[in-house]
Symmetry: C2
Subunit: 401 residues, 2 copies
């Protein structure tokens, strides 16, 4: 490290988060984040697609937004259109699709055009840490609505909207992950999807529908997107490729009508989404999506079964969780009074990482005794070993009997 | 387009730029932006590199930040380290390198940690539109310092720093593109580089050195980076791969010591830079950088010669410009009193696009009679044809005799 000439502490913006800690590598038993299964990454498929797309028009690389303009390259947007029609009941054109660098940027852009400090946003009481963190950074008031096994509770949502109206507050949106909710894994019933739309109309509040995980249902039929029920501009719909291919591909999308799209584009200052990712993933999925997703689903189901069994065997009845219909996570309730934030450090010393619940909660303390476990990355053997060791740590720390 | 259910005009953040215009495709004679030469994109090299990297560890794709953590993948950071040592006189380790989604994100992150509304930043009077636009969005006071053929004028910089000190203002940084300045194409002399460092020390103001174009010198020796003259944390150094490979690859980098790096990382909320780009470009450049850059330089020089000759032939002595030592741009002065913003529309009707000067100027009106022409994208034939037509348009509009 070079010698320190300048004292930056007097130069930094005064409203910064704490400095990042030095990178220390990945733990052996890794149940955090949205890492996915390395065996499911179609590396040979990417070689094949790269061979095709890099023998195409070099202006894709040499120009900003060569094929399709600032909304993203046409083959990938066409794939999104086709997939949404076939799997989510959504009928749109490529004009209504914006490709972003992961769904994180989709959330950032939507927040950028809609939110100001002091605004109010409605979310599921347990929700995606990235979405909650973005709202907190913007000093937006977060109203959490309870989730049960049928998704966000519409009676609670109606009460919250009415209470806010009585206080003169019009929330900027209702953020929901209706299909394989993060972290609870629940799927909202069709009846509630219709009810949410009615409430959106009654109170003039858009629905911000995040379907990052909807492709990952384990088997059988599942409900169409809320966006499929409304062809006006009421539902802003986003999705991701990170969950179906791996987070190394930074690709997500927004579906929005032009009144919103033209604003998103005016705030998209990244000089375009990375084209290599778009070309390779677009080509790969235009050829192999259906096969890939079926394999992915059955692999995830096996790992979910392994994690559930390992938890049952190692923890017995001291913890509670529902087995989800898909996705990558179990949302596990520890005994009341336990603070999962205190357990992360001791677990990491044994090379085990998990997500403490509070980061996934509108009210952090309400999820103090929850943890989120991602089962996509570790092998079945690592799941069994890691959960066995985790139970030892939790017992040693007095968190479970 | 779907029917409009909600009126978003009452929901949008009140501080938004105008909505984007609908995308209308690229013009035939395209002298704008930082597009690069399609013939110089190593498409077969990318196929070869993709074949290698996609037969490597799939965890590069299935995990966030698998190889090397949040600062970017190790082979690409190692390439940056090697290139900086060999070509720019900079000796750092991979710990001091952060890979970003283009140098635009590098600028965004540095601004994010240093700037607040009302702060002051010093820039070259004519400078990169993206950097100026970012400062304007943040409502930062911009102080422009004149540039001559030897780069930013140090006598003017000294006066400006003293004036600001007398007003109790400590600027947050001095932003400079010392090597092949954008848009003027000038290269700052070594003497001025040393003087800038002395002024930085005297006034306690960091230097923000942007070397996006430094690889693109046409021939011969050129000055080392300012960062090479100081091993403290005084110089924040950034660079880009977009200019050497094409803007479709969204890759840039920051060189900074840990006190700054740890803050940049705490504000880097993009879940990692796209890994496919990093893998392919890292592999390609680790094998072929020297060859690629030599070819690129000689091609750019030919096109620069074509543009200079075409301008001389079509415009005669009514315009002024210096022939740069490298880069991709000519910065062309039209007769006094001409407003280049008024000429962009008529030119576009003839399928010709250029950048009006005001976007590249700390004081927009001071560059009203300038235009920036990028010569990297069009073929030599298109350069000759396009400039001939541009002269016709400018004459018809009364801008030149």
């Amino acid at each position: 490290m070079p010698g320190q000439g300048l004292d930056y502490s007097t130069l930094f913006n005064r409203d910064l988060p704490p400095p990042a800690a030095a990178w220390e590598g990945h733990p052996k038993y890794n149940f955090i984040g949205g890492h996915s299964d390395p065996d499911m990454v179609p590396m040979e498929g990417f070689v094949e697609s790269a061979g095709r797309v890099f023998r195409g028009d070099p202006r894709n690389i040499s120009m900003y937004n060569f094929d399709g303009g600032p909304q993203g390259i046409t083959p990938l947007r066409q794939f999104v259109v086709d997939k949404l029609a076939q799997h989510r009941g959504i009928n749109v054109t490529t004009d209504e699709v914006l490709i972003t660098s992961g769904s994180g940027l989709a959330i950032e852009l939507i927040n950028e055009i809609l939110l100001e400090e002091g605004d109010t946003a409605i979310v599921e009481a347990f929700s995606f840490s990235g979405a909650l963190g973005n709202l907190r950074r913007r000093k937006v008031n977060i109203v959490g609505i309870d989730v049960d096994q049928d998704g966000m509770r519409m009676d609670h949502l109606a009460t919250a909207l009415e209470d806010l109206r009585n206080k003169g507050v019009r929330p900027k949106y209702i953020y929901t992950i209706p299909t394989l909710q993060n972290p609870t894994g629940t799927v909202m019933t069709m009846e509630r999807r219709h009810q949410m739309l009615e409430l959106s109309e009654e109170y003039g509040v858009p629905i911000f529908e995040d379907e990052c995980y909807a492709d990952l249902i384990f088997e059988g039929e599942y409900e169409n997107a809320i966006r499929s029920l409304d062809d006006s501009n009421r539902v802003l719909h986003i999705g991701s490729f990170s969950k179906t291919l791996g987070p190394g591909t930074r690709l997500g999308y927004v579906v929005a009508s032009w009144d919103v799209m033209s604003r998103l584009l005016s705030r998209k200052n990244d000089a375009g989404t990375g084209v290599m990712d778009q070309m390779i993933v677009g080509d790969y999925f235009n050829h192999h999506y259906e096969d890939h997703i079926l394999e992915m689903r059955s692999s995830l189901k096996r790992k979910c079964d392994a994690l559930s069994s390992a938890l049952r065997e190692s923890f017995g009845p001291s913890i509670e969780f529902e087995i989800p219909q898909g996705g990558m996570y179990l949302w596990v309730k520890l005994p009341n009074g336990v603070d999962s934030r205190q357990l992360a450090g001791p677990a990491l010393k044994e090379e085990i990482a998990f997500n403490p619940g509070p980061d996934w909660s509108a009210d952090p303390d309400a999820a103090a005794n929850y943890i989120r476990l991602c089962f996509a990355l570790p092998s079945e053997d690592e799941i069994w070993e890691g959960i066995g060791k985790l139970a030892d740590v939790f017992r040693r720390e007095g968190a479970v009997p």
